[in-house]
């Protein structure tokens, strides 16, 4: 009787936890640093969003500063450049997803097909490299390429025009940004796909060869479906950071002449909020940015769950 009751009634949480702890002690210990990281750097600082609603002064602290409500949100959304910064941020984010996201997948598939191990390693190392270089150096390289005596000069000479800088003309900025992003991140982002590809059962390929499938067929019918769940998950996560464009890079390469296409939320806030010590304003904009990102992420996840049954939660 007692035994049966215990079987059907769920044990109290404490008991279940204690039991689980005994069973999976190592897993808990390994998860501890990760949990500590998120608690310390993501959850604890969250009370700081209060700054968005206050006229923050460091000496008075968050609690002591005067409450201004939605003042900074109104200032931002009512500002003269609001729509332009939103448009620029959104477009750069979207173009980056459209071009740079598939680039890493294509690259991983190509590398996966390579037969010479040494060449494969060399190519991978070379393509990872830009990822590990500091943005300042990357920006220096981009500026040099875009200078009239660099690649830009060659391009304009071919068109029969006077050489000028790519970064002196608002029309070229988005291309410069997206292409340099592909160069910077393609190699590194392909690692996770390569790992997924390595996990595909070799027997599938062998069977396909016997059935007479060529390389292209194997790629389309085995490799790609094999990494499809990985692609879906990464795509949802990428959508969640659509509005997080690489603002350090933009800050380092843009100039006032091309604000029309290059001034994004983060750079605008940097000029307005941080250079003028207006912490409340920058926090308000940051909060708004995160909210939009969250909405996009949530929508993408819901859509994906319905369509492909792959989802983050």
């Amino acid at each position: 009787m007692d035994l049966n009751a215990a079987r059907f009634k769920r044990a109290p949480l404490g008991v279940r936890l204690a039991k689980d702890w005994r069973l999976n002690r190592l897993a808990y210990i390994m998860a501890l640093p990760v949990a500590a990281y998120f608690i310390t750097f993501c959850y604890l600082p969250m009370y700081g969003v209060a700054i968005a609603f206050k006229k923050y002064s460091p000496i008075k602290g968050i609690m002591g500063s005067a409450w201004v409500g939605l003042k900074y949100f109104r200032e931002f959304t009512g500002g003269y450049f609001f729509w332009r910064t939103i448009r620029n941020t959104f477009l750069l984010g979207v173009f980056d997803i459209v071009w740079a996201f598939p680039a890493a997948i294509a690259f991983a598939l190509l590398v996966n097909e390579m037969k010479f191990a040494r060449l494969k390693k060399t190519i991978q190392t070379i393509t990872y490299l830009p990822y590990f270089v500091s943005s300042v150096v990357i920006a220096g390289v981009i500026l040099a390429f875009c200078a009239p005596n660099g690649l830009a000069g060659i391009y304009f000479n071919l068109l029969g025009q006077t050489p000028r800088s790519f970064l002196g003309d608002a029309r070229y900025f988005r291309s410069v940004y997206v292409i340099s992003n592909i160069w910077q991140y393609m190699g590194f982002n392909s690692i996770i796909y390569l790992a997924a590809l390595a996990g595909i059962d070799q027997e599938l390929y062998d069977a396909a060869v016997i059935d007479g499938a060529g390389r292209w067929r194997r790629l389309l019918n085995i490799s790609l479906p094999g990494i499809a769940p990985t692609i879906a998950i990464l795509f949802i996560m990428r959508l969640g950071s659509t509005l997080n464009v690489g603002s350090e890079k933009i800050l380092l390469i843009y100039n006032a002449g091309i604000y029309e296409t290059s001034d994004v939320i983060a750079t605008f806030t940097y000029r307005k909020g941080l250079l003028e010590n207006n912490f409340g304003y920058s926090t308000a904009v940051g909060l708004l940015n995160s909210l939009v990102n969250f909405v996009i992420l949530y929508a993408a996840n819901a859509l994906s769950r319905r369509v492909s049954e792959v989802s983050l939660w």
């Binding site: 002064s57 460091p58 000496i59 008075k60 602290g61 200032e75 500002g79 003269y80 450049f81 500026l143 875009c146 200078a147 009239p148 006077t162 050489p163 000028r164 800088s165 970064l167 002196g168 003309d169 608002a170 100039n255 006032a256 002449g257 604000y259 029309e260 001034d263 605008f268 000029r271 307005k272 003028e276 010590n277 207006n278 912490f279």
Partner: protein, 516 residues
Amino acid sequence: MKRRFFAIALTAALAMAAAAPLTAGAELEKISDGTVTLSVFYPFHNDAIVSLADNQTVQKLEEMTGVRIEWLHPARGQEQEQFNLMMASNTLPDIINPGGEGNQFYPGGAAKAVEDGVFLRLNELLDQYSQYYWPMVSADPDFRRDAVMDDGTAYGFAMLEKEAQGTYSGLGVRQDWLDELGLEQPTTIDELEIVLTAFKERKGAETPFLLPSKGYDEETMMLMASFDTTHAFYQVDGQARWGAWEDNFKLYLEKMNDWYNKGLIPSDFSTMDDSQRNAAKSTGKAGLYKIGFWELESARKNSVDPDNFRVVALKTPYYLDEGEPSLRFTNSKVRGFFTSITGSCENPEAAVKWMDAWYSPEMTELCNWGFEGLTYYVGEDGLKHLSDLVISNPNGYSLTTVMGQYFMQSGTFVRDLSREWDIYTDDENAATGIWSSTPADWFISEALLSPTSEEGDELATLMSDINTLRDERVINWIMGVEPLDTFEQYQETARSMGIERAIEIKQQVLDRYNSR
């Protein structure tokens, strides 16, 4: 016993010998018998020493006053952050020196800091304890105006200059080219264009005028001042104005656009970095550019043709045939470094006395010149001259570094810039005078104004958008991406963004300053 005595005597003698060149001049009154310690926050960077505690003049001051100092030197670039951290954790030091001309550590400005009790109001303390600083400030109308805020509150000890340093940078022109081509120094914009064209056609200067990357120069306002306007606020007979939306600003833009089309300005001026600019100067691609007086000689040395190369200061030309500009930047005799005593200081009396000691005749001597026989000597002309240790340091240290080792390059003392005359060439010493020969009646020294925190907030909110608008349009107009017909529409936009309200606020602030 005897041996021990001998050893002590020898050590003492050695110590005295080592200290001998450093003990000169009269002694200051002791502030404490060595029991008082003050903490001082001071941004300080030096290649030779890590802390001001190793500076010989500072050591001498400690010896004379008996006050021990705990120096807090924030890492370069993290001054504001560390100040904020100190405030947030309520661990302010006794004394805060901004280490430069700005005094904006406290969000909302110095007035707010005094109001909030972060910085002490010093007037009463100065009346009571200051022997040197306060009497000196009170006796000189320039000091009196600029060393305090609008309402007369003193919130810090400032760096004072014996003579105001005039306009230390401006336009530099290749004098050797002018001589070779038989041209006079241009005094009007039309003449300047003739000179630039001659540089391009006959001297092979591809882009003779190095226009700064914003399309204007914020500091010197060069060539905008030629058109009686500027990019920011200025004053005419006490009336605040904002130059960048005035009709004269369009004249400036038209001229720059014209020069851009004629190839007198680099096609990529908006994206050129410092190294590209320096290369253009040294290889003779350019013949007219912004330069500081201290850079004239090094520009020659770094050029590809140091034997003939000569760049000199050019007085700002004017857009009309008659007359001269009324606007240039200049400096007050009060040069920032407003060093405040904080609300956390437990011994304000000692802090004020210690700060005051910096302005004593003894410290003025030490801070400016250091030690006779070491950092300076008295020449046959009976005047003091900096020694080779300072001017051409055997360890290869720069002037600023050596100064920071033995005396003071800048800081809270009475600075005498004449000490530096030996260091510079004749062209360099003449440059400041040439640039300063135009009137500066229209100049507003933003650093000396004291807006209230409400005024500051509102101005910042309005101006950050308006400045973005201006900077973007200026580059596009000069490059011809946008036709200048749109200037009127831009004026309207600036109006709708509240420029008139901004001018109104600036006027209030300016009125208070002008009536000090």
